[in-house]
């Protein structure tokens, strides 16, 4: 069986989706996988909508970009960005998103509407990433919470991803590494709890 996974990462410029990408990249590289990861630099990094296309396979990958309707997984660190990037998701794809809105724009829709739309998107995993991250030491680790919540659906074992977090943050000292790994683990747990309560989609806020 050949392995191939297409992941869209979404968020707002400055929210750290490139760190999520870097962790998965490292884990995949050590796992001997082929990788293509397209990212956004430039203008839109100033608080605009940003996305990264991450493709993993055990065979050569041609395109750097993922076509709409074909992504296996959509990982977003902001709920409206999850909706904006939903067109990438395949019918059977999975959506994982942080639920804290970043309101730096006009016309941000009411959160109830955002939530209602998110719940229409397959079997979404919705996490309160900021709250969990703050519990781990800093809101800065929200992106690792989201990565943890997505980990059950990534075609790389969570231990490998955890090791990659350690490698990526090593330069910043043991404390930062520990905090990010904790955030990753809490995110993973929140996600597993949601999967366990299999009454369709639920959110970690009710857990």
């Amino acid at each position: 069986m050949s392995m191939k996974q297409d992941i869209i990462l979404a968020g707002v410029g400055g929210q750290g989706i490139l760190s999520i990408a870097a962790v998965i990249d490292l884990a995949a590289l050590h796992g001997g996988l082929e990788i293509r990861q397209a990212e956004v630099h430039g203008m839109s990094q100033r608080g605009g909508a940003v996305e990264s296309h991450l493709r993993l396979s055990d065979r050569p990958i041609h395109s750097d970009l993922i076509a709409r309707g074909t992504a296996d997984l959509l990982i977003s660190v902001e709920p409206l960005e999850a909706l904006r990037h939903r067109p990438f998701l395949a019918a059977a794809g999975r959506l994982v998103t942080a639920m804290e809105p970043v309101v730096n724009m006009e016309g941000y829709p009411p959160m109830e509407e955002v939530r209602r739309e998110l719940l229409r998107s397959g079997r979404p995993v919705l996490v309160e990433a900021h709250r969990i991250a703050i519990g781990c030491g800093s809101q800065k680790a929200s992106n690792m919470v989201v990565l943890g919540a997505a980990a059950p659906f990534i075609a790389i074992p969570p231990e490998r991803i955890e090791a990659a977090i350690g490698e990526l943050f090593r330069r910043k000292g043991a404390e930062v590494v520990d905090m990010n790994i904790r955030a990753f683990q809490r995110g993973l747990e929140a996600s597993q709890e949601q999967a366990a309560s299999c009454e369709g989609p639920t959110t970690s806020e009710t857990a």
Binding site: D25, I35, H41, Q45, D64, N104, M105
Partner: protein, 532 residues
């Protein structure tokens, strides 16, 4: 050697370092900036003493690279597509002088204008210069092509262009490097290139031009034999000529839909004539897929006629913007995957000035002064401050090309427009604003130039800016600005009132005045704190 995960831009840099360059010259610009940033971080480059300080603009960068090449060493010069407009004079003429050490220009085009004012296609410049153009499609191929571009440049004694586009530059993939070559030595005094080559007076230029034309068959032969140009067999009636990164999308479609599509991968120009002829003789229709302008398509239409050719010119592919897998699939009459559209509640999220950015406070002050006038246009330029064109500021009304703020304000002032106010960043000012200020001074035009000095080149991620702080005052005074009309303000909310007063006074002055609004970019300040 181990496989490394590199952006396309980084693959260019690593290949150039491994090819033994002694200098990497550039002015930042998306999507090319990461090339030089990689060289600046590289331990190998440091050990080898590779020069990699940012140049003031693309023209100075190109000329420095040409000078290094003249002296016998290998040099890389990189820029974004519109940067080549600035460097074009040096670039085109360097094809006449030829080179000494290998000279490679890597130019990064930005189709879809993710971070640019236009989507011009650098291959047209390459054709105008009549030099070889390489357009690899993957990060590994890019590494290999840049390695080979240096000996190619030396063997033809011509600069070589490597063209990439946004997605290749900004996408990571595993790259296997090869063993590094030693750097080249300074040419012996008696062996430097002769003046007849480098002094482009008409007699020499004519001879050099004939020489360049004489090289064309050899350049074509090399493209014909290049590994960057190759055929992928197939039996279907429709074939594809796929240039550069378009090859990736075409191959993705070929695999996903299980097509038996013959594909001519094109990665070195001038395009391989024999291989194209073969594809056209075999197929009933040929789709020409290329990012940017329909450069190949136009040529092929001229050569093979219109009937067989599908592409951007007949609407099979969109006339503008970058390509992707869906676009290629649609062009081949295939159905792309169904998808759920984004719900109507998803409002756009445009980029914005950071919270706490000094440009915000400058625009607040400027807006209240401009509100006192009936003509309220502010001529501006390219940088983070361009975001001042958007609400809530709507403070600037032009952004055309680097440096155009001061010169357009001068022309408008000459036409009688008052006030004529220009806003420019520090890096844009040293890139190409200084000469415009000199024009205004020489002609005593009534303009007010506001230099937003945030101590960095912020838009592209915080590169060193060629002159900031006191040096800007020195430059302005040196050009001839009256010391009484050279003012410095600190754009802070707490100083709004005094800043309004200064701006009001200088904008009222019937002559050249300069106001420097000086406060470090908050992003840059955070980076500096992190690095200490």
């Amino acid at each position: 050697m181990e496989r490394q995960l590199l952006l396309g831009a980084e693959a260019v840099a690593l290949a150039a370092i491994d090819a033994g360059i002694s200098g990497a010259y550039a002015y930042p610009g998306t999507p090319s900036t990461e090339i030089t940033e990689f060289v600046q971080r590289s331990g190998e480059a440091r050990q080898r003493g590779v020069r990699s300080a940012w140049s003031a603009n693309e023209k100075t960068a190109y000329e420095a690279a040409l000078g290094m090449s003249y002296a016998g060493k290998r040099a890389l010069v990189s820029m974004k597509h519109v940067g080549l407009n600035v460097a074009a004079d040096a670039f085109i003429n360097s094809a006449l002088t030829g080179v000494g050490g290998g000279l490679v220009l890597c130019v990064a085009d930005d189709p879809s204008m993710h971070s640019s004012q236009n989507e011009q296609d650098s291959r047209i410049y390459g054709r105008m210069a009549m030099i070889p153009i390489l357009e690899p499609s993957s990060q590994q191929e890019l590494y290999d092509a840049v390695r080979e571009a240096f000996p190619l440049s030396e063997s033809l004694s011509l600069p070589v262009m490597v063209r990439i586009t946004t997605r290749l530059s900004h996408s990571r993939a595993g790259v296997l490097a090869r063993e590094a070559e030693p750097q080249r030595l300074l040419t012996e005094p008696g062996s430097l290139p002769p003046a007849e080559r480098f002094v482009l007076m008409p007699a020499n230029a004519r001879r050099q031009y004939r020489h360049l034309i004489g090289l064309q068959p050899e350049i074509e032969r090399l493209a014909e034999e290049s590994r960057l140009n190759r055929s992928v067999g197939g039996t279907s009636e429709t074939g594809v000529m796929a240039c550069g990164i378009a090859y990736n999308y075409v191959m993705e479609v070929r695999e996903r839909y299980g097509l038996d599509l013959p594909v001519l991968k094109t990665g070195q120009y001038p395009a391989p004539r024999e291989a194209a002829r073969e594809l056209f003789s075999r197929c009933r229709r040929v789709l020409v897929a290329e990012e940017g302008y329909p450069v190949m398509e136009e040529l092929l239409r001229g050569f093979f006629g219109n009937e067989k050719i599908l592409g951007r010119l007949d609407g099979t592919l969109p006339r503008t913007g970058e390509l992707d897998t869906d676009i290629i699939a649609r062009a081949l009459g295939l159905e792309s995957a169904p998808f759920e559209p984004a719900p109507g509640i998803v409002a756009p999220r445009p980029p914005e000035l950071c919270r706490g950015c000094g440009h915000r406070d400058l625009f607040d002050a400027l807006n209240s002064v401009m509100a006192e006038h009936s003509y309220q246009s502010v001529f501006s330029d390219i940088g983070c401050y361009t975001l001042g064109a958007l609400p809530p500021f709507s403070a600037i009304h032009t952004c055309v090309d680097m440096g155009a703020s001061i010169t357009m304000a001068k022309g408008a002032a000459d036409a009688g427009l008052r006030p004529a106010v220009a806003v420019i960043g520090d890096s844009t000012f040293t890139h190409s604003g200084m000469t415009g200020l000199l024009d205004a001074l020489n002609d005593r035009s009534a303009v007010t130039l506001i230099i937003a000095d945030n101590d960095t080149t912020a838009m592209t991620g915080g590169q060193d800016s060629a002159a900031t702080g006191n040096r800007l005052e020195t430059i302005c005074l040196g050009l001839g600005v009256d010391a009484g009309h050279l003012r410095v303000i600190v754009p802070l909310r707490s100083r709004l009132k005094e800043n309004i007063t200064v701006l009001r006074e200088e904008i009222a002055y019937e002559g050249v005045s300069v106001v420097i609004a000086r406060r470090v970019c908050v992003e840059e300040a955070a980076r500096r704190k992190k690095n200490t």
